[in-house]
């Protein structure tokens, strides 16, 4: 009989770690608060840089983790610290005693309506990146006119790099997501003028720059360097966007049929909740604090508690998966030393 391993969160990090642990001969337990696995990635349509369908990725991960004990619709009610282990009480009444916990609680998408000046939830034609992915998935959104639109805008860094939004960090993936979504939109509506309002374009990852140059060269997407200051609604319901075109040093305004806000990543409040239950520290960026941000990103300061994925900060899918694999191995080695 092997040790109980509790994975908190059934997103891609939790699933991948579970799959790896199963391969190592463990029987991990996944606790997922929602009614399905896959987390945020399951809401997405295609993933950069190769436009891999998200459901393929999630499907593979779920298939690899089916042998694990999975509790859906389950939250952690409370955690008791025992001598050298934890007693985790679940909302379904089950309690688990474990020495090893893997926290994969992930992130939350920034609530774009908090940036009041962008009018999400106030103006009809303002949507978020997540809404757009939903439309890519379902083709169903009354705000998007299937007959084509004249002009569409993307606002980068919504709720990222923004002290006022209480999130001074870069959410890392929004730049490339905006470019990806802009291209996808342009593929669907070739006649539409697409603008991206950005502060910096952080095309750090593999093939990201290709996306960027492709967006410009092949799709004619216009990049305007300047953060949108305010959005207002026109008499015909379209939105007027104001920004500074910092490259020409002049204010710029444009009327758009649709404005997509690239809502960033913030720490999942559930992460904080879990952290409070097991007294894990929170880093200055609001995410969970690792033992060391360079060498031990997947280690919590407490023995037996590990992290994987976006609970410690914004991550891309491949980074999250790599951390999940690393965490599985680390857990395996930890378990060995315990015995």
């Amino acid at each position: 009989m092997k040790e109980n391993i509790v994975i908190i969160g059934g997103g891609i990090a939790g699933l991948e770690a579970a799959g790896q642990l199963l391969g190592l001969g463990y029987k991990p337990i996944i606790i997922e608060k929602s009614d399905r696995l896959g987390g945020h990635v399951a809401d997405w349509n295609c993933l950069f840089p190769d436009m891999t369908p998200a459901k393929d990725v999630v499907g593979r991960l779920i298939a690899g983790a089916t042998e694990a004990n999975i509790f859906l619709n389950t939250e952690i009610s409370f955690v008791n610290k025992l001598k050298d282990s934890y007693n985790i009480m679940l909302s379904n009444g089950i309690s688990i005693i474990t020495k090893i916990i893997l926290v994969t609680t992930g992130f939350s998408v920034f609530d774009a309506s908090k940036k009041e000046e962008y009018g999400y939830g106030v103006y009809d034609q303002v949507i978020t990146n997540r809404d757009l992915e939903h439309w890519f998935n379902t083709g169903n959104d009354r705000r998007i006119d299937d007959c084509g639109m004249n002009a569409v805008g993307f606002v980068h860094c919504v709720g990222s790099r923004d002290e006022k939004a209480k999130n001074p960090q870069c959410s890392k993936v929004c730049c490339i997501t905006a470019v990806k979504q802009a291209i996808e939109l342009k593929q669907k509506f070739p006649e539409t003028m697409v603008y991206c309002f950005y502060m910096d374009l952080r095309m750090f990852g593999k093939k990201y720059e290709d996306f960027y140059i492709g967006a410009q060269r092949d799709y004619g997407i216009r990049f305007i360097r300047g953060r949108v200051s305010e959005v207002s609604e026109n008499i015909d319901g379209r939105v007027i966007v104001k920004a500074e075109d910092t490259l020409s040093g002049k204010p710029v305004k444009v009327t758009l049929d649709l404005l997509v806000l690239m809502a960033g990543m913030v720490c999942n409040p559930d992460s904080t909740k879990v952290a409070n239950m097991i007294s894990l520290p929170i880093d200055s960026d609001g995410f969970l604090k690792s033992r060391d941000n360079v060498a031990d990103i997947i280690d919590s300061p407490k023995d037996g508690i590990f992290y994987a994925g976006a609970c410690t900060g914004p991550k891309t899918v491949p980074e999250t998966l790599a951390e999940a694999r690393a965490a599985a191995l680390k857990i395996h080695l930890y378990n060995k030393t315990m015995q």
């Binding site: 140059i213 020409s248 002049k250």
Partner: protein
């Protein structure tokens, strides 16, 4: 009536009013015009910059913003020497772009 002051035209760029016909024509002639990422290498290397403020980056930007008159005055001293082509990290054929602009756009902005 003269009040000693009057309404000044807005300095804001209204992208709704920018006529893109010529810019698209330019794009047909030299597709590279879409590739600029505004790094400014061309500007810093340009020998005409000190004379007429020539900046290929600004030229491309100004055309996208409908400021065609600014373009003509900036390009006044362009010598077509090709340094901007040499330094452009995106490999934009700036010389052909310049010649194409001279063909499509007009001094009077019409």
């Amino acid at each position: 009536m003269d009040f000693g002051f009057k309404i000044s035209p807005s300095s804001a760029i209204n992208l709704d009013n920018v006529d893109t016909v010529k810019f698209e024509q330019l794009h047909d002639m030299e597709p590279d015009v879409y590739k600029c990422m505004a790094c400014g290498s061309c500007t810093s290397t340009c020998p005409a910059n000190r004379f007429s403020g020539m900046s290929m980056r600004k030229v491309i930007l100004a055309l996208q913003r409908g400021k065609e008159k600014d373009v003509v005055s900036m390009m006044r001293n362009c010598m077509l020497c090709g340094k901007c082509t040499m330094v452009c990290p995106r490999g934009i054929n700036t010389r052909h772009l310049i010649l194409s602009i001279c063909r499509i756009y007009r001094e009077d902005g019409k």
